[in-house]
């Protein structure tokens, strides 16, 4: 024990004054599978935090070696007692143990010092960099903002992914579901969105929160490493409830994440929160509910499984100016089985969110990545959350792709088609290539606008389909090198006026002349 600690203890002894305060307590009568039945605690309330008295009957030295206090959360109020879930290791609880009531509802710490940190579902730092200090406690369960306190969604949240920003745009304060089978790139879309916030000016850059629910620790560690290497971690908080965590922590993690986000939203800031994924939270909640002996419903989920997700997702909103003007944008992720979007949990969450993007295994396997089916994906906020620049060019690509999809079936008859149909198919194929994007490489708004405009202007018609992505990248690099001011103007104003169009047209001509070998077809 160092001298500072000894001095602190001396000070504590000098200032010690016995309080003679009574606490309400109960006694553990049964424990198992993370759930504990407690006798007594007649004054306990729902979601109250309890503390298990592990030190009773142990010597002082032994008690000092304990790993910290063990908490429980009241989830069932019964006639003669309560049932609680243990927020930690079940092995630390024994039958007959005294349980103290804290009189407090579960809260998590939040604050500026949380940025760049990895915490668990209780807000405790788990990244080995010491405890997070100077925090404010935020309630894990909180009523969502009312209608009067909200403002409509009009400010875009740029994901850096062309297919999304052009065709299913997301606004700040919206809930947009990312849904698809395993291995279709759902997490990649979410992480690329976080990375793209580096392209936002610091003043308007949203705070990002990534909530990992039931994920492999190795996956979360890889994501943290990627964010750190790319410089995105300083504005990101990772809330981790891995697969090895008790069901209670996996159930709580999304609520803890949004509670942390509400601290920043209440201060007028924008927040982006990703729940990866809510299917695992639903499974954890089902496990808890069955252990609490609540009656099972469809697919053994408890009757309030819809309410679990609706009350979580309703907390993502855009606040009115009177309330600070902050927002929380939610990107919940749902994993489907064999593409079944009509299953119980997927349909629940689809009905709650303001749109969904479907990631399809077939598209992924064909090499169309991100594997978003833009035909059936939708953003209910739509162009209200798009800059004028993107609105101007996105209309063209939508029409192009819609016509292409209609004619796609005729591709096998390519040599027998009339010129107009063949041209439409060729154009559609190239537009599809323009929407492809490498993972981990979000593209800023101005380059997206330029690339899509070039596609609309048939720049890539002279390019073989399998080289369109390469040519598009070369074109944007060319613009970066020679038309920086034009790109900067688009970025600054959010508009793509006639002057800018003229310059981009000129750039396309220059590019074609300078790179004749790319247009060999």
């Amino acid at each position: 024990m160092d001298s500072t600690t000894i001095e602190k203890i001396i000070k504590e002894i000098e200032q010690h004054a016995p309080a003679h305060e009574g606490q309400h307590v109960g006694r553990v009568v049964a424990v198992g599978d993370g759930v504990v039945a407690i006798d007594g605690l007649s004054k306990a309330v729902m979601s109250e935090v309890l503390v298990f008295e592990e030190s009773k009957g142990k010597k002082l030295a032994e008690s000092m070696e304990a790993e910290g206090e063990l908490y429980g959360l009241v989830l069932n109020l019964e006639e003669d007692g309560v049932r609680a879930t243990i927020l930690g290791d079940t092995a630390r609880v024994a039958e007959g143990m005294t349980v103290k009531s804290t009189g407090k509802i579960l809260s998590v710490p939040s604050g500026e010092e949380m940025l760049g940190r990895v915490v668990n579902a209780l807000g405790e730092a788990i990244d080995g960099k010491g405890p997070v200090r100077n925090t404010t406690l935020m309630p894990v369960e909180r009523q969502a903002a009312g209608v009067i306190d909200r403002k409509s969604v009009t400010v875009p949240l740029q994901t850096g992914i062309k297919a999304i920003d052009a065709l299913i745009p997301i606004g700040r304060g919206q809930r947009e579901l990312i849904i698809g089978d395993r291995g279709t790139g759902k997490t990649t879309v979410a992480i690329d969105t976080i990375l793209n916030q580096l392209n936002e000016p610091e003043a308007t850059r949203p705070i990002c929160i990534y909530v990992a629910i039931g994920q492999k620790e190795s996956k979360t560690a890889r994501i943290a490493q990627q964010l750190r290497e790319r410089g995105a971690l300083p504005y990101t908080i990772i809330v981790d409830a891995p697969a090895s965590a008790p069901a209670a922590l996996q159930y709580l993690a999304p609520f803890s994440g949004v509670a942390i986000g509400e601290y920043f939203m209440d201060k007028g800031k924008d927040v982006l929160i990703i729940y990866d994924d809510l299917s695992k939270q639903a499974v954890a909640y089902r496990e808890l509910s069955l252990l609490l002996r609540r009656p099972p419903g469809r697919e053994a989920y408890p009757g309030d499984i819809f309410y679990l997700h609706s009350r979580l997702l309703e907390r993502a909103c855009r606040l009115s100016e009177e309330k600070g003007g902050g927002s929380i944008t939610a990107l919940p992720i749902i994993e489907t089985q064999e593409g079944d979007i009509s299953a119980y949990i997927p349909t629940n969450v689809i009905s709650i969110t303001d749109g969904q993007m479907f990631l399809i295994t077939d598209l992924f396997n064909k090499g169309i990545r991100p594997a978003i089916d833009v035909g059936i994906s939708v953003s209910r906020v739509g162009s209200a959350a798009q800059t004028k620049a993107m609105k101007g060019v996105a209309g063209g690509i939508k029409l192009e792709l819609a016509q292409f999809r209609e004619l796609e079936a005729f591709m096998q008859f390519a040599s027998d088609l009339d010129k107009e149909t063949a041209d439409r198919i060729a154009s559609g194929q190239r537009m599809e290539e323009v929407l492809k994007q490498k993972n981990g490489e979000p593209i800023p708004l101005e380059k997206q606008v330029a690339a899509i405009y070039a596609g609309n202007q048939k720049l890539f018609m002279g390019v073989p389909v399998n080289r369109v992505t390469e040519v598009e990248r070369s074109f944007t690099d060319f613009l970066d090198a020679n038309y920086k001011d034009t790109l900067a103007a688009i970025k600054k104003t959010g508009q793509f006026n006639d002057e800018d169009k003229k310059k981009i047209n000129h750039a396309m001509e220059e590019f074609k002349l300078a790179h004749k070998e790319l247009f060999a077809q």
Binding site: I13, H16, Q23, G57, M64
Partner: protein
Amino acid sequence: MEQTYATALWKLVENGMEYREAISALRENLAKTGRGNLLPRIGKAFERIAAREAAKNDVTLIIASEADEKKAHAAAKKALEAMNVDVKHLKTRIDPTIVGGWRLEGAGILVDESYKKSLLDMYNRAIQ
């Protein structure tokens, strides 16, 4: 299920029904519904409920050694009066692990004035 039957039996007895009459009625009901083999388990659950109810108002004063009894007793009575808890009989138990001071447990309340708690709290605050 046996817990539910035991609770129902307890409530019947609490509401004034004769104990033997309640048991007889229960036995008949179980036989009618084909659940006669639950009776022993219901009996055990009933015993647990009875023990819990009996201990509900018991309060125990825990001290580190006999020498602390008189002082602890006086302080505990004061604390109980302050909380409006009426205790007819205060049991005493010796537990050296509390180091010193006293601890009052029972009737759903805990007042912990043990040296162990004070020392642990100081230590935890100092190392934070």
